[in-house]
Symmetry: C2
Subunit: 165 residues, 2 copies
DNA sequence: TATCTAATGTTATATCATAACAGTCAAGAG
DNA sequence: CTCTTGACTGTTATGATATAACATTAGATA
């Protein structure tokens, strides 16, 4: 799906590299342990698959890999694992892409935003506490009680912006 | 789909009421005229359908209505009209709902945000110039050139928040 | 062990969206 | 005026995303 001719470490700075992926997986496991979550084999493997990927993966892309490794081969297998990860903050859903991506700091309670490159489809998770605060306030001003939000930006990542110039 | 037991004017303050809808439609027509856009019968009717609706409508809901009125009965008919409206700023796509909603101020160039009620599914368009600016800056700080963004909040609208209490 | 619950797996189907191509129509060129 | 052209509308067919419903299995509990 994605091409990834980018120098490693640029297009998705936060979770590129096997070492980073391992570190994040370890964090996620600790987090699950602490919270009494059951990070079963499919779920754990699904998280690994997301971590191994650059950019975000569609549910069916995850499913392909799971099926190839002997897990169930039907959509609910992937959707259930992905939804579990999202519900417990170990992954995020990227609505614009109908795709999922591993959270880069699963232990912190946070609201995430994403920067999606139009050209290379890289997805970068950004922290947006201030944006979320502003949004909560603005919503509150019209009587709306904000609970969750989707904040996704589309444009050119630094690498692609450079190439385009 | 939506229930709408809300007092008119509350759940979707900006385009509720036939008078409001007519006013917005007139604006949209003027805007199209000025920009040399062809607001053909299907497109115009599609916009009306969105304006008549409370909340956002899925493409197939729009299609049903169009088909019932003698327009084409196949998905591309609805998607083409909807995409036209979105491209020209007369409507917006609400990603979280896989749905579309008429723009409440089609003549102004703007970035929109939406507040979506979890309970009654009302959708309120909000202006977010300051949020967008903040986001563009934050993105720029990591070298990302932001072009478009999706900002959608989910929670309880003022009416539903009141009822829940 | 017997029982209960959460998790996994399956089949089937719902929902959302687009590709590809044929017919229509109005504006501009000759 | 007629021909060409390009935008628009329509169709069939298919692709892509997501969930409902139910059978089976594996862990925890009593
Ligand atoms: Zn995260
Ligand atoms: Zn890029
Ligand atoms: Zn708008
Ligand atoms: Zn509501």
């Amino acid at each position: 799906m994605t091409d990834h001719s980018h120098p490693a470490g640029f297009c998705c700075p936060d979770h590129s590299g096997a070492a980073q992926a391992r570190a994040i997986l370890a964090q996620a496991e600790a987090h699950a342990q602490a919270g009494g979550l059951r990070l079963t084999p499919v779920r754990r493997r699904t998280l690994e698959i997301l971590l191994e990927a650059h950019g975000a993966l569609g549910a069916y892309e995850v499913l392909e890999r799971l099926a190839a490794e002997g897990y169930g081969a039907q959509p609910p297998v992937a959707y259930r694992a992905l939804n579990f990860l999202v519900e417990h903050g170990l992954a995020h859903r990227v609505r614009r892409l109908n795709a999922f991506t591993a959270c880069v700091h699963p232990t912190q309670e946070h609201r995430a935003a994403f920067l999606i490159c139009d050209r290379c489809e890289s997805v970068t998770e950004a922290s947006v506490e201030s944006l979320t605060r502003a949004m909560t306030e603005a919503a509150g001003a019209v009587g709306f009680k904000l609970e969750r939000s989707t904040i996704e930006g589309v444009g050119l990542c630094s690498v692609c912006a450079g190439e385009a110039a």
